[in-house]
Every structure is written in C-alpha cells, then in structure tokens.
C-alpha cells in the first residue's frame, strides 16, 4: 500500500522533467533546422549573384557550380561606369539622411518618452501609418516640388527625401529605447546640474547607445537599399549605387554576369557592415526582449 502510493505520488514528478528536457531538445533542433533553412533561402540569391559575377557572360546562363572564375565582368563594369562616384553618393546619402533623421528623431522621441501626453501613442501610430502609403502615389507632386526647388539629381534632395522616409521608423525605435531609461535618472542628472543638452549627451545617449546604434544601422541599410526615389529623382550627378545597378539591367538586354558584378559591388559594403555589426543589429531589433 505504502509503496503503491509512493509510486503514484512520485512517478509524475520524476518522469516529467525528463520528458521536458527531451521535448525542449527536440524543439531546439527543429527551430535550428528551420532557422538554417530560412537563412539558406534568404542567402541563396546573394550566393547566386556572387558566383555569377565571377562567370563569363556566356557561362552566366548555365547553372554550373564549378567553373573557371574570371574578373572579366568586374573589369568591364569598372571601365564602363564610375563606380566610385556612385559609391560616394550612396555613402553621403545614407549617412547624411541618418544623421538628419536623428537630429529630428531624438528630440521628438525624448519628448514623447519622458513627457508623454494622452496623444503620444496616437501620434506614434499615425507616423508609422504614413509608411503604408504607396510611394508612387506622391511621386508626381514630389517630383514637381523637387524640380521647382532645384533638388532634382542632388545629394541634398535625396538626403531630404530619405529623412522623411525613415523618420517614422527612427522616431519609433528611438522612442522604444528611451522608454527603457527610467525618467528618474534624467531627473537625477537635472538635479546634479546637467542642462538639457547635457542630459541628452551625458546620460540618455550613452544609456541608449545600443539602441541608437542599431537604429542607425537599420536606417543606413534602408537608405542604401532604397531604389524607387533614387531612380526617379536622380540621373547622373547624385545617383547612388541603386541607380548604378539599374543601369545594367535594361539598355542592351540583360547581361547577367555584368549585372551580377555590379550588384555584388553595390551590396558588398553594406553586407560587410551588416556582418560586422550582426550582434548589435539583432539585439537592437529585438528591443532587448532577447537577452
């Protein structure tokens, strides 16, 4: 009798943790496999571009994985267009717009995070909702405005439009990071004698540095990849790398190898940057939810 009740009482408590361990191990495996699969699917086009870039134009159509690599396409791409000019434009535009974005987003987010009003949440959602608007819808008015203002094909014009484009994301993300900073710390700084600028520079900025830097990374990537406005608003002078790629796609039919080489040259800088800051980016984008 007593041994019976002993078993009844204890067997679930013994077997349950074991089952849980096995369960969670299986889960980890499955999630791991799924993760790798998704990563492969996402990475495959880049991989394909990378190998095609090193093929000859004739060989570009064959799906061979083994071939004699050549730099011919790169040579031609460099000979035909001024890669450096495009690259510099991309750098100016993405860094410039990111800086300008922060110049506006940080004060906005500061106000919303530390002095919220009943309308704060609504304002945030409204800002985000502007991202839902299809860009073509405002292409014509923006184009006309740019022409009148003399901003067509200028780096400043692109910086301006990218700032507008990314501002909602910038405000939203900065706001989220600021919300994690206890207001009392800023008040302590105020009592200690910090000015508003001091509060932002010496306390808030360093405390939300991980968040701000991953926001910056994201903004740079978004600006770097933006193709719609850059293709429509620039032609030669201010054209960034997206225009550079596009210039290989249509005029003389498709030249896969050269197009791939150009694409690889365009995405390489941002990929290297993304790779180096992977950890930062992931932890930033999960908003500290995953420690």
């Amino acid at each position: 009798m007593s041994s019976h009740s002993f078993w009844y009482a204890s067997s679930p408590t013994i077997s349950k943790p074991l089952a849980n361990v096995e369960d969670s191990r299986l889960k980890t495996w499955l999630i791991g496999i799924a993760g790798w699969l998704i990563a492969l699917i996402v990475f495959f086009p880049i991989f394909w571009i990378a190998i095609t870039a090193f093929k000859t134009e004739q060989g570009a159509y064959s799906p061979d994985l083994i071939f004699k690599p050549t730099l011919e396409s790169f040579r031609e791409v460099f000979a035909r267009s001024n890669y450096k000019a495009y690259l510099l434009n991309s750098i100016y535009v993405s860094l410039g717009s990111t800086l300008l974005c922060f110049l506006i987003a940080i004060p906005a987010a500061y106000r919303m995070a530390f002095f919220p009003t009943p309308k704060t949440a609504g304002t945030l959602v409204w800002m985000m909702s502007t991202k839902m608007m299809p860009a073509v819808g405002v292409l014509l008015p923006v184009y006309l405005l740019f022409r009148t203002a003399g901003l067509l094909d200028s780096v400043w014009g692109l910086i301006f439009i990218y700032t507008l484009l990314n501002l909602p994301i910038a405000v939203w993300m900065t706001f989220t990071y600021f919300c994690e900073v206890p207001g009392a710390i800023l008040e302590a700084a105020r009592v200690d004698g910090a000015s508003l600028m001091g509060e932002l520079r010496d306390v808030l900025a360093p405390m939300s540095l991980p968040g701000i830097s991953s926001t910056a990374l994201l903004l740079i990537i978004l600006s770097w990849n933006e193709a719609f406005w850059s293709i429509n608003l620039t032609s030669a002078k201010a054209a960034p790398l997206t225009v550079f790629i596009a210039s290989y796609s249509s005029p003389e039919g498709l030249f896969w190898a050269k197009l791939s080489a150009a694409s690889l040259l365009a995405v390489a800088p941002i990929m290297v940057m993304g790779w180096l800051s992977q950890k930062q980016l992931v932890s930033g984008l999960t908003f500290g939810a995953v420690k």
Binding site: T117, P118, A188, A189, V191, D192, G193, A194
Partner: protein, 375 residues
C-alpha cells in the same frame, strides 16, 4: 552659517493635460515650515501628494501657485541645480554607464570644480559610506543597499543645504532597511543638514523624524513631533494612521445618564457603553447627543483596573496573538471589534469573557462630523 530652512507657503499643484486643462489637484494649499537642520518626514497613504510636494521643492515639478523658500530665498523659478538641494530617489537612479566614482563626481564635474577637490570630496563620502573599494565598479555590480549608499554619496558630495529623499528604502529588504535607516539618521547627525524624507512607512517616520507631517488627499492633516502625533492626534485620520495596531475607534453618541455622561455606541442590546469621567467628561460636555468617535489605543486597554479612570469593557475574546511578554487580543465588543495589547503572560481562549479595562485618561474623542479631535 547660511540659513537652510525650507518654507512652503500656500503651495498648490494642479496637474494639467496637454492642452493646459486641469486634470488633478494633487497638493491643495499646504503650509509647512522646515527648520534649519531639521529632519522632516512627509508621510501618508499612496497618492496623497508626498512625492509631488517633494518634487516641487526639488524643482522637478512646476508649482501651480504658492511659494517655496529655501534659506529665505523664493526658489519657484530657480533651476534644481541652483536650489542647493540634493535628491535621493526610490530606484536609486544611478547612472548605469558610469563607475561609482563618476556617479558621485558627475555633479561636481558639471559644476566645474577642480580635480583635486572632486577627488577629495568623493573619497571622503565613499569612506563615510564604506564604498572605497567599489569606486571603479559600475552600479550593476552592486547590491541594492550599496546602490542606495552610492545615491547617498552622490547627494553628500554636492554639500546641499537640503537633502530630499523619496522613499529611498522601499526597494530594500527588511534587514537592509533597518540598517540604512540608522545610517541616514547618523548622516543627519553628522552633517547637521536639513532633510525632507518622504515615506509611507510609519515606522520609518516615527523612528527618523524630528517632526512628521501627515498628509492625506493633498492636505496636511497634522505636523508634529512623533510623540505628540502619537499622543495627541489632531483628527481621526492621524489617529488611525499612526500606530500599529491602529487606534480602536468606536462611533457613537455622548448621552447624559444617571451617573453622568456616557459614550453610547448606539442601538442594540450589546452596544458598548462607556461611562465618561474626569477630563474626558469635561470635553464631552459640548457634545451631548451629538455623534462622536471614541478612540483608544490598544495598549490603553489593560486587564486590571489601576485607578478609577479605568472602566470595564464588556467583551469576549475573539483571537489572541501571544507574543511573549505581551499579547494582542482581538476582542468582540458591542457591534464591532477592538484590539487590546495586554502585557504579561496570559492565556486567552476564543469565546472567553475578557476582563479588560479602558484607561479613560488616555482616550480621545473626535467630532464625528469634522473628524477633528475634541479638546
């Protein structure tokens, strides 16, 4: 020596919404003078406006109307850093990205003090608080008690006229709280500075305060030293807020009986009737047939009649909590319950008739309408 008193005159705080429309008045026209070197405690239930008041003194919250003077100077428009105050927050509010040294030195650096001076002040404060070995660490590497000590150190190095504390110990465990309580009191002795200390813990209030200001709903209910507050509560609220277990309060009327005035709890055959004698009877004179509260602290119920001011109370034992040298006895008396703190070792059983006496010379009467004490 400069004056470090704080004078709060007709202070009002009305919170407003984003269009400037008033939403809530958290502080309603309060007057309070805190003397040079005094330890003043603001105590009261949650939401009574303690923090709001303190934050207005600190300059972190705009004043709606009224004035605050620090050292005879109206500071309404003065920035926090120029008020000569330092504040210790509930959640420590240390700068997490700075070392302990820099946490303490931050204010001095902003004030452009020279390096030697800063080093001197910080190490002196660190030594006084036992933090010398931790100056290179970041706040995460410290325990709660140590963090709050750093916050104290950060306040000390500013050499303020007035220290402001907003529930600085409520995040600490019980043992640490007792220790820090003593430490802050010691600090007050050493620095001889004016301190305003907000808490909702009445034990902190009673043990630390030179004077205590009891607040409720944005109003000051009474300001007095701990003993006066305990012995002579000005109203029902203070009577029930200060003291643990709280004062027994019975609502009833004063009636004229055969042998003099009687407090009568009301209808019902079992209702408590207390004959009033001596001084309390004189006070009750004006309240014949008027509603009053009769209040008496648990320790003024005893199991023997010492003199003729002790009157018997008809009651039965509900439960008893023996605590060694004394017992807390929950009594069933009349239509309600009363608590008695009976000294000595006794055994009380549920349902027993309790032989207890009320010490009338320690009892209070309150006007049931205004809830003010009857003097």
């Amino acid at each position: 020596m400069d004056n470090r008193s704080v004078k709060i005159k007709n202070l009002v705080k009305t919170y407003v919404d984003d269009r400037g429309r008033p939403t809530f008045t958290a502080v309603k026209d309060i007057n309070l003078e805190i003397n040079d070197g005094e330890f003043m405690v603001l105590v009261g239930p949650s939401g009574c406006g303690k923090s709001t008041t303190l934050r207005m003194v600190a300059g972190l919250e705009k004043i709606t109307s009224g004035t605050i003077e620090i050292g005879d100077k109206v500071v309404n428009q003065v920035k926090p850093k120029d008020r000569g105050i330092a504040m210790v927050f509930q959640n420590y509010a240390l700068y997490p990205h700075m070392t302990i040294y820099n946490n303490m030195a931050f204010g001095l650096k902003l004030a452009k003090k020279d390096k030697g001076f800063i080093q001197n002040s910080v190490s002196r404060a660190a030594k006084a608080l036992g933090l010398e070995k931790m100056l290179d660490r970041k706040p995460q590497a410290l325990s709660g008690g140590q963090r709050q000590r750093v916050a104290l150190g950060r306040a000390i190095v500013r050499e303020p006229k007035v220290f402001l504390f907003d529930e600085p110990l409520s995040n600490l465990d019980a043992k640490m709280r007792v220790q820090m309580r003593a430490e802050i009191s010691r600090l007050h002795e050493q620095l001889d500075a004016t301190m305003i200390y907000v808490t909702h813990d009445q034990i902190e209030a009673m043990t630390m305060g030179d004077r205590i200001c009891v607040m409720r709903d944005g109003l000051i209910m009474q300001t007095a030293d701990p003993l006066t507050l305990y012995r002579q509560p000005a109203n029902v609220f203070v009577a029930s807020f200060i003291g643990s277990p709280p004062m027994n309060l019975l609502r009833g009327t004063v009636q004229r009986g055969d042998g003099g005035l009687v407090f009568n709890e009301g209808a019902g055959p079992n209702s408590v009737k207390i004959p009033l004698r001596g001084e309390i009877a004189t006070r009750a004179e004006r309240y014949v047939d008027k509603p009053v509260y009769f209040g008496i602290r648990p320790e003024h119920l005893s199991n023997e009649a010492m003199d003729q001011m002790h009157v018997p109370l008809n009651s039965t034992v509900d439960i008893a909590e023996p605590m060694g040298s004394e017992s807390l006895v929950y009594l069933q008396a009349g239509n309600g319950n009363m608590i008695a703190r009976i000294s000595g070792e006794h055994i009380f059983r549920h349902g027993d008739t309790a032989n207890v006496y009320l010490n009338l010379s320690k009892a209070h009467l309150f006007d049931a309408e205004t809830e003010e004490v009857i003097r």
